[in-house]
């Protein structure tokens, strides 16, 4: 039946055992992409979605119209945030491997996407991330202990034990709750921005999804509503080449860039080197100005690479060459910013090593403190009866009853609430 088939089934350039091959990526030279005024009409931004905005070259020099001309102290802060994000990720992954948290997702290799964008936005801007922008929490000064406590579902967990690890939220930090359901936050961010516009407030919203998730309906809802109401929102699409085991072609990236979806809706689409801190900063600043001035929304495609496994439940060696990251033409965002600072004479290997140590200490101390608030296998524990709260504002009768039923079972010792070792996750 299959021989005459003409169904095109996309397949990645390389599978395990084959040579990595990124020749499919269209790369512009650093500094080459043009930079229109923020008031540009959407219809006149088509080129932006085909080029690749790059500022930092291999020579560590920042060039071109998108150079945000940040001062060295700011760059150093960016480096620190990215490094802290990476060290935090590494540590949490090890902790998961030790069976002390049930699950973790790293953002390794994509730190600039969150950190640079976060720095280019204002604290009052509302962020609607996916699960791979922990860098936003770091930028906004979140205490790592809070993040760790969430992953531990312990007594200090802001989610009160109700969410899987990494599904953080931060009301006072203006970071929305991360959902396990892909893409749902995207149109919500647009709704938030519409409300800001209705109220005449100046804050804007920003959201992030993966290129894989852009196939979900909510991508379309977000783009349509953002375009129709000219909502003050930045829609970031993180094209890290992979969605679990499927490469970006399965999401529709074979014939066009994801940024090009933007112009299709009448929204400027910008394609940016997601591993270039300066470039991400610059395009975010551009889009934020645009939104804040009421000119409208922007779609930003961040071209990056998911260096780590999808999550701790995943083994990427089953579906892609082990050395793929090494072949990634846009490098490592941390190494690149570091190289830039060194080239500027504002950083050194020694300072870097010192910073790394300092941050390691911070991560370690945070973990110690977090553990003291309880772990899945011991220490102080959340009261299970809290699980009946917050379903509604006021607890309705049937939940009061269920809580009392549960209370009786607990008091009678009928339910064994001793810690359960983590089951092998499928």
């Amino acid at each position: 039946m299959t021989p005459r088939s003409r169904l095109h089934v996309p397949s990645p350039p390389a599978r395990p055992g084959q040579e990595p091959d990124f020749s499919y990526l269209a790369l512009s030279a650093p500094g080459a992409a043009h930079r229109p005024e923020v008031t540009v009409a959407a219809a006149d931004t088509e080129n932006l979605s085909k080029e690749l905005v790059r500022v930092l070259g291999d020579d560590h020099v920042a060039v071109g119209p998108w150079n945000p001309h940040l001062e060295p102290p700011e760059l150093q802060v960016g480096l620190r945030h990215m490094l802290l994000t990476r060290l935090f990720d590494d540590r949490m992954q090890r902790i998961q491997r030790q069976g002390r948290i049930s699950f973790y997702i790293k953002s390794t290799g994509e730190e600039a996407v969150a950190v640079a964008a976060g720095m280019a936005l204002q604290p009052g801007d509302m962020l609607f991330p996916s699960y791979r922008q922990q860098g936003l929490q770091v930028v906004r000064g979140r205490n790592l202990v809070d993040l760790m406590c969430q992953c531990l579902s312990n007594t200090h967990d802001m989610c009160k034990g109700r969410q899987m690890p990494i599904m953080y939220h931060w009301g006072s930090g203006n970071i929305f709750s991360i959902s396990g359901n892909l893409a749902t936050q995207y149109p919500q961010a647009v709704g938030w921005a519409m409300a800001a516009a209705i109220k005449g407030e100046d804050h804007i919203a920003a959201s992030w999804i993966g290129e894989g998730s852009s196939a979900e309906a909510d991508f379309h809802h977000a783009m349509t509503f953002a375009a129709v109401y000219q909502a003050p929102v930045i829609l970031n699409l993180v094209n890290n080449q992979w969605a679990i085991s499927t490469f970006q072609g399965v999401a529709g990236g074979e014939r066009r860039t994801f940024a090009q979806r933007g112009p299709g809706y009448g929204i400027p689409g910008i394609r940016v080197d997601g591993n270039d801190f300066l470039a991400v900063y610059a395009v975010t600043e551009w889009a934020a100005q645009r939104a804040r001035q009421g000119v409208g929304p922007t779609l930003i495609e961040h071209v990056t690479y998911r260096a780590a496994a999808h999550s701790t439940s995943d083994d990427p060696s089953r579906y892609r060459p082990k050395e793929e990251w090494k072949a990634w033409p846009l490098g490592d965002p941390i190494a690149r910013l570091k190289g830039h600072l060194i080239a500027l004479g504002e950083w050194s290997e020694e300072r870097h090593a010192r910073l790394e140590k300092e941050l390691e200490v911070q991560v370690n101390a945070s973990w110690k403190e977090a553990e003291s608030y309880g772990t899945l296998s011991g220490g102080p524990a959340l009261d299970p009866l809290t699980m009946f709260e917050d379903v509604f504002k006021d607890m309705p009768q049937h939940l009061v009853q269920q809580r009392e039923e549960m209370r009786a079972l607990l008091e009678a010792g009928t339910i064994d609430v001793s810690p359960v070792p983590l089951a092998q996750k499928a």
């Binding site: 396990g180 149109p187 647009v190 509604f392 504002k393």
Partner: protein
């Protein structure tokens, strides 16, 4: 007191809330300039401005998602889904997001969104303009589910829904928008102006959620129902000549189980009536709770009457609709059993 039909009462509820609370906004397909295909939002855009009342793209998922985001940003959105049959494209946002936001953030983020949507058959709408999908929402923890049966309740319940802090799916039985309907399509239509519950205050008032109403006191059996079927049940009681108590559940979730069980424990016999398909319908939940709480008082198996377990067929609307004859038959059956 003014006389209003149900559409006018709903319109008045929104008008009152738009005026009282600057956070209230109305959005949905055709709700702006046009005033809604059922006219529920007529005049509201002109009066309150196009930033408070506006049309949306035809995208139920987008409407609900945007409403959630607006709710998170401090507004109180009232979203119209043109027909309950078209709520499914927005189902994920309701179940995975709207219902759980307060829970998953331990109360730090909430989205007080009210979703209004006309439901039910009886207007020759066929399978895609006649559904009653309330059971699909009552199973979702974190959502309140409401259905009024008259203009007074419609206004009072809708104001309660909008004023509340929880998400509400507010079903409007469109067959009784203009007048009560007792299930006999051969009779001339009766307008609400002739009905006591068509008297509705112009201003602000509320009818509490999660509080059932005894719409007809009775002694020998209890009918549990809501929406259009309240009126059908009244006709059935007359038809069967049986002195049954009729309870309008009004809020399906969270349920006012006390009012329900107090009645059934007293009468000892129970019929559950809804227009939705029977299998897995909301009536099953009522039966399950009643038999548990009133088991020792029950004199006969609880009977359920609902739509047949098929899509709503255009040509057989009245054969499909669980009219007074079927309800009366069930009533007779519970009375005979012993």
């Amino acid at each position: 007191m003014a006389r209003m039909n149900m559409v006018q009462a709903l319109n008045s509820a929104m008008d009152v809330m738009l005026a009282r609370d600057p956070r209230v906004v109305i959005l949905g397909e055709d709700v702006g300039y046009f005033g809604g295909v059922f006219r529920a939002t007529e005049g509201l855009q002109r009066k309150h401005g196009e930033h408070r009342v506006f049309d949306t793209p035809i995208s139920e998922g987008g409407i609900i998602a945007a409403a959630i985001g607006m709710g998170v940003n401090g507004l109180k959105p009232v979203a119209e889904i043109q027909f309950a049959d078209y709520i499914y494209p927005g189902f994920d946002q309701v179940v995975s997001e709207l219902a759980r936001l307060r829970y998953r953030t331990a109360g730090e983020f909430t989205a007080p969104v009210t979703i209004r949507t006309p439901c039910g058959g009886g207007i020759r709408g066929g399978q895609t303009h006649s559904q009653s999908p309330e059971a699909i929402f009552t199973h979702v923890s974190g959502i309140k589910v409401v259905m009024p049966s008259n203009p007074y309740d419609a206004k009072g319940l809708l104001i309660s829904a909008i004023e509340g802090e929880d998400p509400v799916v507010f079903f409007e039985p469109k067959r009784i928008y203009n007048g009560p309907f007792d299930g006999d399509p051969h009779k001339p239509a009766v307008p609400w102006s002739t009905h006591p519950q068509g008297e509705v205050p112009e201003g602000h008032f509320t009818v509490p959620l999660s509080k059932a109403a005894i719409v007809r006191p009775g002694t020998v059996a209890t009918i549990l129902t809501y929406g259009t079927m309240v009126h059908v049940s009244e006709a059935a009681v007359r038809l069967a000549g049986i002195d049954a108590e009729i309870i309008d559940v009004r809020t399906m979730a969270p349920l006012d189980i006390d009012t329900v069980c107090t009645s059934v424990c007293r009468t000892g016999r129970c019929v559950v009536v809804h227009e939705a398909t029977l299998f897995g319908g909301y009536g099953a939940e009522l039966v399950a709770r009643v038999q548990e709480h009133c088991f020792w008082n029950l004199e006969a198996p609880i009977q359920r009457v609902g739509g047949w377990d098929t899509p709503y067929p255009h040509a057989f609307e009245w054969e499909y609709f669980p009219g007074p004859a079927r309800v009366a038959a069930a009533l007779t059956k519970v009375m005979e059993a012993s």
